[in-house]
């Protein structure tokens, strides 16, 4: 399915060998950090994590199209790969999984990544509002909002698609269809079998792409950005991928699918697939891959050290960050808390 006009200008430019290698390095970094985060959970370093094994191409490829000088990304809780790709401080990002602070400790305005969001369709409408703000301000930023096949069942997604289409808001709706909404497969989740098909009903051009092909993802997302940035309104991309692991570190996928089913559904590993392609095209060699992996390991170590060093936030922040202008009741509760906790 492709109802988006063919790209022109920069969006049509093929990726350079250096860019292809950069994409691979990002995917390796994300893969390594993702699998490490699961280990951290098993080791008790973090209480929980939402893995994205198998979604590296969809996340790195889409994030690669974001221009952090003007665009803004609205994630859910499974966009670590996007965050890494657009350059978010990963210790601050992982702090949300460390249970240090809901939403993470990074600065969302500087990072261009809205706080991590646990309501699956919660931020889809925020992207529309932010994007409409770009129109009102006469700016050319594009909002990209991430959600999954499960979230597409929520009313907010439909309200957002309708709002964005009516207002011609510059939004890219990036759907990672990973086959599962926790335990419920897409066919029991998405009527019509495709989120992209729904876009037509809103008059929104859509692309349904191979979300495990990082190059295809970059190209599609660039096209979508170019379309939205030129004032043509929103675009929906449905990246078909597969969540290879559990929904979260608390999930047991063995209760709803067998290993055989997992193997069949997952197909070829997107990272291995890209590696073979780079090798075949002579863009990268084994030495490069080894170097990329070493860099990913070093980075992961640095992030782990960083989050292990993270202490708890001072309790006063609990009271201080509710409002810009606090209330007498909150001040009284904070004072009471200080007094009683000092006696412990």
């Amino acid at each position: 399915m492709d109802t988006l006009p063919v790209a022109s200008g920069d969006a049509a430019e093929p990726l350079t060998p250096a860019q292809l290698r950069e994409l691979y390095s990002l995917m390796v970094a994300v893969r390594h950090l993702d699998t490490s985060a699961i280990a951290w959970q098993r080791q008790g370093i973090i209480p929980g994590y939402a893995p994205e094994l198998g979604q590296e191409a969809a996340q790195v490829g889409s994030g690669y199209a974001v221009d952090t000088t003007r665009d803004f990304v609205f994630p859910t809780y499974r966009e670590m790969g996007v965050a890494r790709t657009i350059g978010v401080d990963m210790v601050a990002y992982m702090s949300t999984h460390k249970a240090t602070w809901h939403g993470g400790l990074y600065d969302p305005l500087e990072s261009r990544l809205a706080p991590i969001q646990a309501v699956v369709a919660g931020s889809v409408l925020h992207a529309v509002g932010w994007a409409h703000g770009q129109t009102l301000d006469g700016k050319d930023g594009v909002a990209m909002t991430y959600f999954g096949d499960g979230a597409s069942s929520q009313g907010d997604v439909h309200e957002a698609l309708n709002f964005a289409a009516v207002m011609k808001a510059p939004v890219v709706f990036f759907v990672q269809n990973n086959g599962w909404a926790i335990s419920v497969p897409t066919e029991r989740q998405v009527a019509g079998g495709s989120v992209a098909a729904r876009a037509a009903g809103y008059g929104i051009p859509a692309l349904r792409i191979d979300g495990d092909d990082v190059v295809a993802v970059v190209e599609a997302t660039r096209r979508a950005f170019a379309h939205a940035r030129a004032g043509n309104g929103p675009v929906l991309i449905e990246a078909m991928t597969y969540r290879r692991g559990p929904h979260s570190t608390s999930d047991d996928p063995g209760r709803y699918r067998s290993l055989d089913e997992e193997r069949d559904g997952a197909g070829v590993d997107p990272l291995e697939r890209f590696r073979q392609r780079l090798l075949a095209d002579g863009v990268a060699d084994e030495a490069f891959f080894a170097e990329a992996l070493a860099a990913a390991k070093a980075e992961e170590e640095q992030i782990r050290t960083g989050i292990q060093a993270l202490g708890s936030r001072p309790g006063t922040e609990m009271f201080d960050l509710v409002f810009q202008e606090t209330t007498p009741a909150l001040q009284a509760q904070a004072a009471n808390w200080r007094e009683e906790s000092e006696h412990v």
Binding site: H102, G103, L109, H126, V128, W130, H132, A143, F163, D320
Partner: protein
């Protein structure tokens, strides 16, 4: 002809009055309905803050079903005042994004009961984003909600959601009781950096009163609307006018009632409550919302905490009932009426320690 902002002007816009001769008290006071006062406040907010935007269902060309936004689109343009698709979650979710982008959204939910479809965005998003983003993404959103009953409207068009909103960390709640309060409280709310639920008593939209355009006094806290010695009636929104009526009737029997307009339902002005009840030593809270877990319980507890030793009787509540808001024919039975409020007063005055 509708009550447009362009007609019936009897006073100078304070911000446009620069260079004009010094205003006299007469020139800065105007008689207007609450609808006109709210309309004027929004007009001035748009003029003063280029980042303020008004939107919702039918608030553009139509000027809102209550005409609160009448004439604003024509005057300020379709970018500042616009109609949205009919979807409350969409309206409130869009407000979050606009606030993130540096705007001051002033969305309208057409009727109180229609806030329910948007509760997720109000509670999980608007109320929490400042916290979640560690103060980097404030939500200066003023959500206008035509509230409470009294107009014989269909189901879901007359609800009292104040306890629900006030219970949510991260939200502030205010309700005006007359045109003067409406004008000043809305102008204040619409310049705050935090989300404010602005509950407009729709049964009072067409009541006229003096609006002092120059001096509104303090826009925070509660306000004594009538001084009295024997008992404090605590109310907000449409119930303030009814309590003032009750106070006049009670005065004929020599009972001197103080009426406290709570105004801010969050944060509640505990000091004003304490000051009033320490003086009168008796209190009755009056609200339209159902009794159980209503805001009256919170008010009563605040009074008990600060005035336990001076209270002559337990704090009474006169409220709606724990029933779904009834149809128009039963509305007068549901909303606290003069008799029920008088009974409440009587219970407190005749209370004897056991």
């Amino acid at each position: 002809m509708s009550n447009s902002i362009l007609e019936g002007e009897s006073a100078v816009h304070p911000t446009l009055a620069a260079g004009a001769p010094e205003s006299t008290a007469a020139a800065t006071t105007a008689v207007m309905s609450m609808q006109q006062a709210l309309n004027r406040a929004l007009d001035e907010v748009l003029a003063d803050n280029p980042k303020a935007v008004i939107f919702g269902e039918d608030c553009g060309r139509l000027g809102g079903v209550f005409r609160i936004t009448d004439g604003l689109q024509a005057k300020h343009g379709e970018q500042r005042v616009f109609d949205t698709p009919l979807a409350e979650s969409g309206i409130l979710g869009m407000s979050v994004g606009l606030a993130m982008a540096g705007f001051h959204p002033i969305p309208e939910v057409q009727f109180d009961g229609f806030a329910y479809p948007a509760i997720n965005q109000i509670v999980c998003q608007i109320a929490r984003m400042n916290y979640r983003s560690r103060g980097t993404m404030p939500m200066p959103i003023t959500l206008r909600v035509p509230s409470f009953g009294g107009i014989r409207a269909p189901e879901h068009h007359g609800e009292s959601l104040e306890a629900l909103f006030a219970h949510v960390p991260g939200l502030k709640v205010v309700s005006p009781s007359n045109p003067n309060e409406a004008y000043h409280l809305l102008k204040y709310a619409a310049t705050r950096p935090d989300p404010v639920i602005f509950m407009e008593p729709k049964s009072r939209y067409w009541q006229k009163g003096d609006v002092n355009l120059a001096d509104g006094g303090s826009p925070t806290g509660a306000k004594v609307m009538r001084e009295g010695r024997h008992l404090t009636l605590v109310a907000w929104g449409a119930m303030v006018a009814r309590c003032l009526q009750v106070a006049e009737l009670a005065a004929e029997d020599g009972i001197d009632i103080e009426v406290l307009d709570l105004r801010w339902l969050k944060p509640i002005d505990a000091e004003a409550l304490a000051a009033s009840v320490r003086k009168t030593r008796r209190a009755v809270v009056v609200h339209e919302a159902p009794l159980t877990s209503g805001l009256g319980a919170e008010v009563a507890q605040l009074i008990t905490q600060s005035c336990f030793d001076t209270l002559r009787a337990p704090v009474e509540r006169v409220t709606g009932f724990d029933v779904p808001y009834p149809s128009g024919d039963l509305e007068d039975e549901y909303i606290p009426n003069i008799d029920r409020i008088l009974f409440g007063i009587q219970r407190v005055l005749e209370y004897k320690r056991g």
